[in-house]
Amino acid sequence: MNTEGAFLPDIVAFCCAHSAYPAADSAGYLRIPYPENIRVIRVPCAGRVDVLHILKAFEKGADGILVLGCHEEACRHISGNIRAKSRVQKANTLLEESGIDGERVEMLTLAQNQGPKFAQIASEMNERIKGLGPSPVKPRV
């Protein structure tokens, strides 16, 4: 949502339906604000997120991406969060290869009642991406 004036990054947060997504909701129940330019996408498990989703997101104009899953050893699907972590690393290198800062993608973990932490993560990511500036491959509209 890049409005005129100050740079507002487009950030996509893939959220595990067992942890991060409910966490985002609880931020809602507690009315804790977080930047509106964070786009939450619900996934059944962080392990569902494919490197392709991350690459395509940048093709479509994302400036930063969060993959949010369950805490280590607490994945509803045992290994989903671990896989997500290694995939995010893979994505980092693939992006670097294409000349995009790998810093723009990160995997973090949450529990479903951690609304405040979700908001905090969202804002921190927002600040980081603002620092990095717009994605070098943002399609022109």
Binding site: H71, A74, A111, N113, P116, K117, Q120
Partner: protein, 398 residues
């Protein structure tokens, strides 16, 4: 039980299910510390989603007659002045409520199930005599009804499962430990709730992050003098998890745990304890007195095993690991149901091998109302009770 096609009435005294555990916080650092708190909201949503379960909140069981497979129970539903059939939990009533600082109408918990707001008679201006109708007028669905009266209802049920839970030990009974007198003396329960609400812990006295924390174990447990001659089973684990969490958030923070015996048994917990060993100072022996030397400094007096004499040391935060005690109202319920109270005031079990059977056939016990348990074990006990109930019903071809 409902998963097995049985119809279930879930009767809760409070306006939301979930009990204490629903107010607990996640204790994970990067890695999950297996506190199991995340199970609770999941179970709550399962209940909400299950058509076989009818939720009766704000309700108390006042009478029972009949026998197994043919009980008739009598409930009284306290008014909450909001119609659950109408409330859509939009929150506009709370926003518009003029009562300050604390609102007269609110959602009992952020993730309350059912998601129905309630009016708090002690806060609501109208119930304090003012002519305030704001929430009723604001409510888009006309769910607010100041005239609501207590409802009586009768249910025909085949079996009853008692899962009334526990009360946390009231640390005030241990006056010397300063709870309620000094702001920086908190209980484990307080810690749970603060973490849950704020996501971190700050000193009540000055809002700074605690640097030097003491956990005092077995407050209200393993204590024959106050009649709690049992181990609460949860305190060592939550204390160590909190200790790790505090240090995760503030690596500088020093943590001391005063204990009698560390309960490190349980799958995977041994490993967790080994991780704690380096980071946490464990002192054998439980302090007798906590006193305040300055608003931000507490002095803990304890028997120092190394020196063999009473030692003093200062901390900025003291956490009392309060134990699990029987609910104050257990006795009333026992009277109503005609079931026995056993050791220390928990509900008593008939069969030494079966923690769920009571002296009344068709009435079963589950969870901490029968004795101290942690979350997964309480759930397991609940499942056992359900299993027993189903077995009884199957046996009688019900």
């Amino acid at each position: 039980m409902a998963d097995n096609g049985f119809e279930v009435y879930l009767v809760e005294k409070e306006p939301t299910i979930g009990g204490y555990a629903a107010s607990f916080c996640c204790k994970a650092t990067e890695t999950c510390s297996k506190c199991s708190v995340c199970l609770v909201p999941e179970k709550m949503l399962e209940v909400a989603a299950n058509p076989q379960i009818s939720l009766l909140v704000n309700s108390e069981l006042v009478g029972i007659s009949g026998e197994v497979c043919d009980f008739s129970v009598e409930l009284v539903q306290k008014p909450t002045f909001v119609d659950p059939e109408r409330c859509i939990a939009c929150g506009i009533c709370t926003e518009s409520c003029p009562s300050e600082p604390s609102k007269g109408i609110y959602l009992p918990a952020p993730a309350a199930v059912p998601r129905t707001y309630i009016i708090d008679k002690n806060q609501c201006l109208r119930f304090k005599g003012a002519k305030c109708n704001i929430c009723r007028d604001m409510c888009p669905t006309g769910a607010v009804d100041f005239e609501q009266k207590p409802k009586k209802r009768r249910l025909k049920v085949s079996a009853v499962i008692v899962a009334t839970g526990f009360d946390a030990f009231d640390a005030r009974q241990k006056g010397l430990l300063g709870y309620g007198r000094y702001p920086n003396v908190l209980t484990g329960l307080d810690l749970e709730r603060r973490f849950n609400a704020e996501g971190s812990i700050s000193l009540p006295s000055n809002g700074k992050a605690p640097q030097n924390v003491a956990f005092i174990q077995c407050v209200g447990s393993r204590d024959e003098y106050i009649g709690n001659g049992y181990c609460s089973q949860v305190c060592c684990k939550y204390a160590m998890r909190f200790a790790r969490l505090l240090q995760y958030q503030n690596p500088e923070a020093r943590v001391t745990i005063f204990y009698i015996d560390l309960q490190t048994a349980g799958k995977g917990f041994g490993e967790f304890y080994e991780k704690c060993k380096g980071a946490i100072r464990f002192v054998h022996g439980v302090p007798v007195e906590v006193s305040e030397i300055s608003p931000d400094e507490l002095e803990v007096r304890y028997e120092d095993p190394v020196e063999g004499k009473v030692a003093k040391e200062t901390h900025d935060l003291v956490v009392l690991s309060v134990g699990i005690t029987p609910r104050k109202d257990s006795w009333d319920l026992a009277k109503v149901l005609g079931i026995n109270l056993g050791d220390y005031g928990f509900f008593d079990t008939q069969d030494p091998l079966d923690g769920t059977a009571t002296n009344v056939e068709g009435i079963f016990l589950a969870g901490t109302c029968q004795g101290a348990r942690d979350i997964p074990e309480s759930i397991a006990h609940g499942v056992q009770a359900a299993s027993r109930a189903i077995q009884t019903l199957t046996a009688r071809g019900d």
